[in-house]
Symmetry: C2
Subunit: 230 residues, 2 copies
């Protein structure tokens, strides 16, 4: 098991803005639209905390630009990353009253913030919105299950699986931009930073990938990677 890692988290409390901007929306509006209409757009800097684990889950968030990670610090000090969220992704939608993970921006990010109570109220009146909320949670469930399946594989399979996951998000062809650090990747995959690094180097030596720099990966040989993915 990887050793504990410490991370610095700059805290800010930018949520007052929402109260001002939040506004009601005509019932019957589809959620995707409602999100845009009801929310306040906010900026978060690199490593800025958006919310903390255990805080009241009064808001739901949508990434406009940038990247967000959710994470949790375990009892022994180790950090597990729950997910990375990119443009268009919704995060922070909880069924319970508290956030089960904390969230911070990996890079400067624009985030749309919506009152949870507003969505819930809308859902209570409009079954389409209710269905949309349910679908969001269901997609999250599917994502976590995929993540779980990654964690029972070998280091190489985890890293390759991660690369495919990242590649699938943006239509960048075979070039994948990694907005997160090696430590973030390691904490997402349940590996150490050294193992991630070694594995990437190994894949490069086998001509499966190319590493122009540490934050960019080119998938040179997808079939070979597919095979390593098991």
């Amino acid at each position: 098991m990887p050793a504990p890692t410490t991370s610095t988290a700059l805290h800010s409390d930018p949520h007052q803005a929402v109260a001002r901007s939040a506004q009601s929306v005509p019932a019957g509006h589809p959620l995707t639209g409602a999100f845009e209409m009801m929310g306040a757009r906010m900026e978060f800097g690199r490593n800025c905390e958006i919310y903390g684990e255990g805080e009241p889950a009064d808001f739901v968030y949508k990434v406009i630009s940038g990247t967000v990670r959710t994470s949790k610090v375990l009892a022994d000090g180790r950090r597990q990353i729950g997910a990375f969220y990119h443009s268009g992704d919704v995060f922070g939608l909880e069924v319970g009253e508290e956030h089960s993970f904390s969230a911070d921006a990996i890079a400067a990010s624009q985030i749309l913030v919506v009152r949870r109570s507003a969505l819930m109220g809308l859902a209570a009146r409009d079954s389409h919105v209710a269905h949309e909320l349910w679908t969001l949670t269901g997609r999250e469930l599917a994502r976590v299950q995929e993540h779980l399946l990654l964690l029972v594989k070998t280091a190489q399979e985890r890293v390759v699986g991660f690369l495919f996951e990242m590649a699938a998000r943006r239509p960048g062809g075979d070039t994948v931009e990694l907005p997160m650090s090696r430590q973030d990747i390691a904490d997402y995959l349940g590996l150490t930073i050294e193992t991630v690094s070694r594995t990437l180097s190994g894949l490069e030596n086998e001509n499966a990938i190319e590493l122009p720099n540490s934050r960019r990966v080119v998938l040179r040989n997808r079939p070979a990677l597919r095979q390593l993915n098991a």
Copy 2:
């Protein structure tokens, strides 16, 4: 990573019964009640498949008695268990159109089977039912996230975590009944059967637990276990 394990799965197709027994229910009924009224009670024998991975998710299930496991066979032949469901648990509720895992009864089980379309129709008309469906999916999400956190820990922590999980389910005090085999536990925890067995033996040597027989565990020293749980 554990080596592939093969498992025999007796197949039966007992779903015709549902069509006969399914009946509509007055709108506005709470889901918990609706489940009982709309469903057909069915019996599944040990190792009987309830549904298979990739099959249309036309039904939702609730355990009346017995235990159910959901599992998935990975590309390399290894099996990952997604969850164990006990009395009162709902399983098989999908947001998509297909089951993402297969499900089988670990022991002889009574299962309540409900048409998904009936629930969905109810949810479309009654926001309380919709909320209930959403809550079910949300609880499942929380459960999978807990499971995921287990998989990044050491073998000992996984096994201890599993024992606590099982102990929390039934109010049996410190005595925990394990309805599943060592292989099932191993496939749930991403370990080998040998490691599970060794870890349990180790815990017994440290007087943290007692093993009257292979399917029963007595938690002798919860504080010590709590510590090992990290």
